[in-house]
């Protein structure tokens, strides 16, 4: 059986890559996608622990996280569309006015 550690390392790697994406990219859509990556990394952890304890509780939490990710993506993309209509940009550092 594959030790749980490996899953944790995989999850850590994806998490860090996601954080790098959030911190360095200018495009809001890529930033949102990086956040999805981070949430996904968390899911791997949860499922791995769920397997470790042979209990479905972790999977239930993962479902909640996917729900959350869906809500976040929908609202985030709605904001991006609204911003794009008004400012005609998707670059995060140009959206620094808090108004338009």
């Amino acid at each position: 059986m594959i030790p749980v550690d490996l899953y944790l390392f995989l999850s850590l790697a994806l998490f860090i890559i996601g954080v790098i994406g959030v911190l360095t990219r200018r495009n809001v859509i890529v930033i949102l996608m990086s956040i999805e990556l981070i949430l996904n990394a968390v899911n791997i952890n949860l499922i791995a622990f769920s397997r470790m304890w042979s209990s479905v509780d972790g999977q239930v939490f993962a479902i909640f996280i996917i729900t959350d990710a869906a809500a976040e993506a929908v609202v985030g993309l709605g904001i991006i569309l609204a911003l794009f209509r008004n400012r005609e940009t998707v670059l995060a550092d140009e959206m620094d006015m808090l108004k338009w």
Binding site: M1, P3, V4, D5, L6, Y7, L10, L12, A13, L14, F15, I16, I17, G18, V19, I20, G21, L23, T24, R25, R26, N27, I29, V30, L32, M33, S34, E36, L37, N40, N43, I44, I47, S50, R51, M52, W53, S54, V56, D57, Q59, V60, I63, F64, I66, T67, A69, A70, A71, A73, V74, V75, L77, G78, I80, L81, V90, L91, A92, D93
Partner: protein, 168 residues
């Protein structure tokens, strides 16, 4: 289980490589494609962890739903133009270094406390009927969070409609 191990290495490698490519590609559509790659690889890992229902949920909801939405929005906003601008912001070196430092910190913590944390490999098998077990847990033990999640989705839905509408 050699086969299992090879499968894990393949899927994990696919996930990490796609994730790196996703963050580094200039073209946003390529980024989205590589994120889809990561998500599918993760779904494979879920399957390997005997979470069949989560595997299907990941594919249908995440890949088939959320990511389609992403791709849709990427195509709606005219991206050829923004491609000409630099894709990384000015703090990219500092931010990258900090993020890697964070990763190193977590890894170091794990390395130092290796003995203290005991991750046993799974011993007992998962419940045979995964879908039914998840359903039971969702609708009995986690009933309230489930309903709250549904309200969250409703709120998000209304929010998105309001956001995307041209004239409110």
């Amino acid at each position: 289980m050699l086969l299992n191990s090879i499968l894990f290495d393949f899927l994990a490698g696919l996930a990490v490589v796609s994730a790196i490519l996703m963050v580094t590609r200039r073209n946003v559509v390529h980024s989205a494609v590589f994120l889809i790659g990561t998500l599918v690889a993760t779904a494979g890992i879920f399957l390997q962890l005997q979470a069949e229902f989560l595997f299907v949920v990941q594919i249908i909801l995440y890949v088939g739903g959320i990511m389609v939405l992403f791709v849709f929005v990427i195509m709606l906003v005219n991206l050829d133009v923004t491609l000409r601008f630099p894709q990384f912001n000015r703090q990219k070196f500092v931010a990258g270094a900090l993020a890697i430092a964070l990763g190193g910190q977590v890894f170091a913590a794990y390395w130092i406390g290796h003995g203290a944390l005991h991750f046993k490999g799974s011993s007992s098998p998962m419940p045979a009927k995964n879908t039914e077990a998840v359903g039971q847990a969702l609708f009995q033990h986690y009933m309230l969070p489930f309903e709250i999640a549904s309200i969250l989705l409703l709120v998000a839905m209304i929010g998105a409609v309001v956001m995307a509408k041209r004239r409110v």
